[in-house]
């Protein structure tokens, strides 16, 4: 253990987290930062619903509404949903495959700091002349027309956090391929590991197009390029294509890990092996593959022509097949199982019908001819909120309750958890179900107000009430977290009693080196298998020996901080003379820190065997 962690002063703890490369601590960092942005995005959602609660409302101006609406979408996708999933991946994935750490602990930390600085940069726009206002898709024709620095906050902020996501993705792929323990073959990997693997592969191939299209927009707005300027030969449709070549796989980047969490939860609380494991793996990979073939279904009304539309419509509908396989597998896992309706299980059970509704409206949108009717209406808003809330947010909430004891060593209160669940479920359906009908009645998406007497009042009012219920549910969740943390009643290795996979075979929270001896995996659901054979612990795959651990490092913070500074320089360079030196200075900090990292040998440290022997009630 490094010397800083042993003194528990506030500054020492802060420094510990600023320099940590331990995946379990990085998970907590992701959870705190992602949770903060989730609250921020939630407040923005509430503001939207307040404005739309009654017709002709003047709670917000149209300009303000555009900013709030844009920031709600951008924050929720990039700064809340993905980091919260990364939190669960970091917390659980190395444990699930029986690894002591991730493949690149340093890059893991770098990924987090890049995300955080990008997110902070984006949100500073509120205080520095207004937030981005061209929608989360930031179509070039809108974003080039936006005045001031608003869109530059979007491009530069997302660019920085996007680098972080890419690195986190590569790190997890290598971890899964190289760091599995003895006997953990690919077809014995837990479903959450599998879905993370596929989602991270999607990150690897989907984020570069976003990086490039954001570069184009940065160059156009700040450095005089003409990519999207039609007068100079540019073409705004290029942005649409590149954005959605990223944007559609992004949906699967979010929802595949969610599927993984539900697979774990359903299997655990049905106390049955996951039905059709091999077909689950196959369906996951197939969804990942098809996810790259369907981006133009976001552009049916752009005018690509009937042949392109038909191809993309059919490809989109094809994704319903592997998704359907998954739905049936979950149902059949529960079938005949000995079901325990814990809080995570409630989310999982509620997820199935909610997500199916989102899937069915997805197929409706995929019918390109009908889509001309739905496009840019509240029908689409209803659709993707069913998929993303009903899929991803339910999964994050289920995962939080499920893995909370593994992350913090104490259980969230089940009663409060169930109250949260019911309020959230009812609020969710109340908010978004009516939006389908509002859309079909012609209410356009991203509209800041509507007139009386067009039949839109009741639906919008119901929708706003629903959003309040979700807000109350979130407050109760926070209260639950506070109460639980104050009580801090410690739990054992397997607090749910039905743990199936390796993470439940070690203490909660795990020691900082995870496994004293790497476990030997002899079956799928390795820990459950050993329990069924009458053992209490995993058999070891190696003799007790020295453990190699990486050194903590402040460099990830500095690399990210340099880019944060450089982004300000790039943004103000056209207006102020100090812009260019600041841009260069920031890049010098970043590349200088990278150089230091490259030149300074970092061989890590060893925990000696003797130290492990006296480590009984290990604390990370």
């Amino acid at each position: 253990m490094n010397s800083y962690a042993q003194k528990r002063g506030f500054l020492a703890t802060l420094w510990d987290y600023l320099t940590t490369v331990d995946h379990k601590k990085i998970a907590i960092l992701y959870l705190v930062a992602g949770g903060f942005f989730f609250v921020l995005g939630g407040i923005e959602a509430l503001l939207i619903r307040v404005q739309l609660a009654v017709p002709n409302n003047d709670f917000m101006s149209a300009d303000m509404f555009n900013q709030v609406m844009t920031m709600h979408g951008t924050t929720m996708i990039f700064l809340a949903a993905m980091p919260l999933l990364f939190a669960l991946m970091n917390a659980v994935l190395p444990l699930q495959i029986g690894a002591r750490d991730v493949a690149f602990p340093f890059i893991n930390a770098l990924g987090f700091w890049l995300f955080l600085f990008g997110g902070i940069f984006l949100n500073l726009s509120w205080f520095l002349g207004g937030a981005p206002d061209a929608g989360w898709t930031s179509y070039a024709s809108l974003s080039l027309a936006s005045e001031g620095k608003r869109i530059d906050f979007y491009t530069l902020g997302l660019q920085i956090s996007g680098f972080g996501t890419l690195m986190a993705g590569i790190n997890f792929i290598v971890t899964i391929i190289n760091m599995r323990t003895t006997g953990m073959t690919y077809m014995r990997m837990p479903m959450f590991t599998w879905t993370t693997f596929v989602a991270c592969s999607l990150i690897l191939f989907a984020f570069p197009p976003l990086t490039i299209s954001i570069f184009f927009l940065i160059f156009d707005r700040l450095f005089g390029a003409q990519f999207f300027n039609v007068d100079m030969g540019g073409n705004t449709i290029i942005w649409e294509h590149l954005f959605w070549i990223f944007g559609h796989p992004e949906v699967y980047i979010l929802v595949l890990p969610a599927f993984g969490i539900f697979s774990e939860v359903i299997s655990t609380f049905s106390r049955k092996r996951l039905f059709g494991y091999a077909s689950m793996v196959f369906a996951t990979v197939l969804i990942g593959f098809l996810g790259f073939m369907v981006w133009a279904h976001h552009m049916f009304t752009t005018g690509l022509g009937p042949i392109a539309n038909a191809i993309f419509a059919v490809a989109t509908m094809a994704i319903a097949v592997p998704t359907g396989i998954k739905i049936f597998n979950w149902l059949l896992t529960m079938w005949g199982g000995s079901i325990k309706l814990t809080t995570p299980m409630l989310y999982a059970v509620a997820f199935i019908p909610s997500f199916v509704i989102g899937g069915v409206t997805g197929i409706m949108n995929a019918a390109s001819v009908a889509d001309y009717q739905y496009h840019d209406t509240y029908f689409v808003v209803g659709h993707f909120h069913y998929v993303i809330l009903g899929g991803v947010v339910f999964a994050v909430l289920a995962g939080l309750h499920f893995y909370w004891p593994k992350m913090f060593g104490t259980m969230l209160n089940e009663t409060l958890g169930k109250i949260t669940f019911w309020l959230f479920l009812i609020g969710f359906h109340l908010t978004f179900f009516v939006q389908h009908f509002l859309g079909l009645m012609g209410m356009p998406r991203r509209t800041f107000t509507f007139l009386e007497g067009q039949g839109l009042e009741t639906g919008n009012y119901i929708s706003s009430i629903g959003s309040v219920l979700m807000a109350v549910a979130s407050v109760i969740l926070v209260i639950n977290i506070i109460i639980t943390s104050v009580k801090n009643k410690k739990v054992g290795n397997d607090p749910w009693g039905d743990g199936r996979t390796l993470e439940w075979s070690i203490s909660s929270p795990p020691p900082y080196y995870n496994f004293k001896q790497l476990p030997l995996v002899r079956s799928i659901d390795a820990y459950w298998h050993e329990k069924m054979e009458g053992r209490k612990e995993m058999p070891p795959a190696e003799p007790l020996g020295d453990i190699h651990m990486p050194n903590p490092s402040f460099i990830p913070f500095m690399i990210s901080f340099g880019l944060f500074i450089a982004a300000f320089g790039a943004m103000y360079r056209p207006d102020y003379s100090w812009g260019l030196p600041v841009l260069i200075g920031g890049l010098v900090i970043t590349f200088g820190s990278m150089l230091v990292r490259s030149l300074k040998d970092d061989l890590g440290t060893y925990i000696k065997k003797e130290e492990l022997d006296d480590d009984k009630g290990v604390k990370a």
Partner: protein, 209 residues
């Protein structure tokens, strides 16, 4: 095998870059990174093809007016040769011959600098003699972004290899730095492959089509 161990010609493994877990992780992680880079350049190529010769008026130069084969041929030869010399360097790395590896990496850097010089001359030539600039047309933006991204990769690669060679000047080879050299040479080959596509898609197609 321990990472700090002092190696000799006899104990040097056949595949030193993959001997340690750190090395294997680096090897795989870097290949994946190059996968992402491939998509990045594919995106740039697609944009270039979409915006090729898209200019505001008839007096703006087009691809056919700009490119000249002799210069691009020299650049291609310089870069392809530098890829070959980096293969020599890795060959000597595998044979635990640090001095020869160092020598061939220095040659690689010099060839890369030659390429970079030609590219700077080329850009300068287009800007001052043809008024073909980053801002003059969508064609110009796409051209300079694609070729410039490649050029930036060359600069980064040169700094990287130089830093490695200077850092390890007196230290010789170890299982700690062998993967670093290997990965840097992989990066250099990738830059070379991208150039082959730039040569074909930008210059050859630009002069014929």
């Amino acid at each position: 095998m321990q990472i700090q161990e002092k190696m000799t010609f006899e104990t040097w493994p056949a595949v030193p870059e993959k001997e340690t877990l750190e090395g294997r992780n680096k090897f795989l992680g870097f290949w994946l990174f190059l996968g992402g880079e491939t998509v990045l350049f594919a995106t740039l190529f697609a944009t270039y093809l979409a915006l090729k010769d898209k200019v505001p008026g008839p007096d703006h130069p087009l691809a056919q007016d700009l490119y000249s084969m002799p210069l691009v041929f020299v650049m291609t030869m310089l870069l392809l040769t530098s890829s070959l010399t980096s293969v020599y360097a890795i060959y000597h790395m595998k044979n635990f011959n640090f001095k020869k590896m160092r020598f061939w990496f220095i040659i690689t850097v010099l060839l890369g600098l030659g390429f970079l010089g030609c590219e700077i001359y080329e850009f300068n030539h287009y800007v001052h003699d043809y008024n073909h600039t980053f801002s003059s047309s969508a064609f110009g933006s796409a051209f300079y972004t694609l070729v410039g991204f490649h050029g930036a990769h060359v600069i980064f690669g040169l700094c990287w290899i130089t830093a490695l060679v200077v850092r390890n000047w007196r230290r010789g080879l170890s299982l700690y730095n062998a993967p670093k050299f290997y990965v840097a040479s992989l990066y250099w080959h990738f830059i070379d492959v991208v150039w082959v596509f730039i040569f074909s898609v930008v210059y050859l197609m630009g002069m014929v089509g």
